[in-house]
Amino acid sequence: MKEIRLAIKILKTLVKDRIQYPDRLVVDTIGIIARCGILLILYSYVFKLSNGAINGTTFLFAAWSIFFYFSFSVLRLRDISREIMKDIQTGNVEVLLSKPISYLSYRMWWQVGSGIYSFVVITLLAVVTLFFSIGLPSTMTISIFLPTLLLTFFCGVILSLFLYTMVGLLSFWIEDINPVFWIVDKAVMILGGSYLPVALFPAFMFKIALWSPFGASQFVTHTVYKTWQTNWYQLVGIQLFWIVLLGLVVYFMFESAKKKVSVNGG
């Protein structure tokens, strides 16, 4: 109960913070328009050159899939790695460890809270814009779409947090995690379908995207395709498997890391 109360307080406080200082929303909006908008324009052109379909997929499906990736990225869950690294490098970790909280769950809720306002506003605006500009694929109107989208979204949030927390916790051993972060982040971007929609992946890469935690953290991008209707439980199952596995890794890493808290600057 206490954990939930604190989580709600963190979310409320950070939403208030973001509303009061809307710069982040502006930056996030410009970011998504620039990155996602340009990609959609380019893919629209590519699909036109290919007579409207590539590998059996039309632009409509590809566009929503790409949008789901970028919308998810607005949550900035990846930033938890750098926040943990910053805590360790600056010694702020000691401030948080002296409070009656679980450091990791606090950091995770904080990360969700940091991005949730931008995520909700941008996603709502972008859904309306996309709906009126390119329309809605038929797969998004069936009854299981929304509940399974929410399910895979929540699993994706937890998996992303675990994945990037693992990277962040490496700071207890290697201090500068940027090279590891770069590799993991690019793996998530590529296998999650930010550059190329997953439906257009070659078979072997699709398998990697399906079975790796990097791709599994971005399964929201699969929800628009017809295959989702028959495969969703398998994909959610893969996510749950990785959540359990990475959750255990994070737990044991943190237990070991606590004994290695360094005393930067006394």
Binding site: K9, K16, Q20, E94, L97, V261, V263
Partner: protein
């Protein structure tokens, strides 16, 4: 692999603290002060020995202990920078699992006690350092801790802000019987705030005594001011154990090493050398005393 070296940060430290005491835990940089505080709060785990605070073992009961203690790390802020101070106080109230009513009541108390009303509605990042430190201490007291551990709380503050913070700490010690455990390089903090001083160096407690005895116990130098009857025209060589601290035609100050020559003997010899109108004999200030303790301990090692 980079070469690593094992360093013993603290070794065989042992002390106990009574409820309501005000302890200064001092030592030069790298002495082991912060390491000790981190062990007391359960952030660092000692390789051997036991720590017991209010019946809790910090290594096993970190969270339970956290409800009973408050911490202030002078160089690190725990407040929410973009939001008004009141949000930070409410936030910490929830963190300490206090009921909403109690949080509101406590905020009113702290606002009054720490005189926060003039800036409680301002975003924390707009506060002056002095105001922010008051706010930091107030935030750490939201849950009425039995002990407050402060790691260099007055660092960077001007004299007025320092005094104000010290007065507040004395007030909460008096009114709420909060035990104060403080590390500081500022002699003023020790002198005006703490009734007991523990000196640590090279990870070992070298002294544990009432602050008022610190100067008495460690004074092996006396200062003597000699005020000239007319003017001092020459400054003769001084006997062994006495050296000039300052020379002026109106006043000379000398330092007497009482291990080499006692005060009575020094005065006799000085009066033979100088024609004086007035004499003042006094101890070194606390800062000098502490410097001597550190230096002497370093020489021993």
């Amino acid at each position: 692999m980079p070469e690593t070296k094992e360093i013993v940060a603290v070794n065989d430290i042992s002390f106990s603290v009574k409820r309501g005491e005000r302890i200064a835990f001092i030592g030069p940089n790298g002495a082991g002060k912060s390491t000790t505080i981190k062990m007391l709060t359960g952030i660092l785990f000692p390789t051997s020995g036991t720590v017991n605070i209010l019946g809790f073992d910090p290594t096993k009961d970190r969270k339970k202990l956290a409800y009973q203690i408050g911490t202030v790390f002078g160089q690190r802020s725990q407040l929410l920078p973009n939001l008004p101070l009141t949000d930070s106080l409410e936030f910490f109230g929830v963190m300490y699992d206090m009921p909403e009513k109690e949080i509101k009541k406590r905020i009113v108390e702290l606002v009054e006690l720490f005189d926060l009303s003039s800036f409680i509605a301002q975003p924390v990042r707009k506060l002056s350092l002095g105001q922010r430190m008051r706010a930091e201490v107030a935030a750490s007291l939201i849950h009425k801790p039995k002990i407050i551990l402060l790691d260099e709380p007055t660092i960077g503050l001007d004299v007025v802000a320092k005094k104000s913070l010290r007065d507040l700490l004395l007030k909460i010690n008096k009114e709420e019987n909060t035990t104060i455990f403080l590390t500081s390089h500022d002699v003023g903090d020790i002198e005006s705030l703490c009734d007991r001083t523990i000196v640590i160096n090279h990870g070992v407690v070298i002294r544990d005594l009432p602050t008022q005895d610190l100067a008495k116990t460690f004074v092996y130098e006396k200062y003597i001011d000699l005020v000239a009857l007319s003017n001092f025209n020459n400054f003769p060589e001084l006997p062994e154990g006495i050296r000039y601290s300052s020379k002026d035609k109106n006043k000379v100050t000398v330092v007497v090493d009482i291990n080499k020559i006692n005060v009575q003997e020094s005065l006799k010899k000085l009066l033979y050398l100088f024609e004086v109108e007035d004499i003042d004999v006094y101890n070194a200030n606390l800062e000098t005393v502490i410097r001597h303790i550190y230096e002497r301990d370093s020489t021993r090692n």
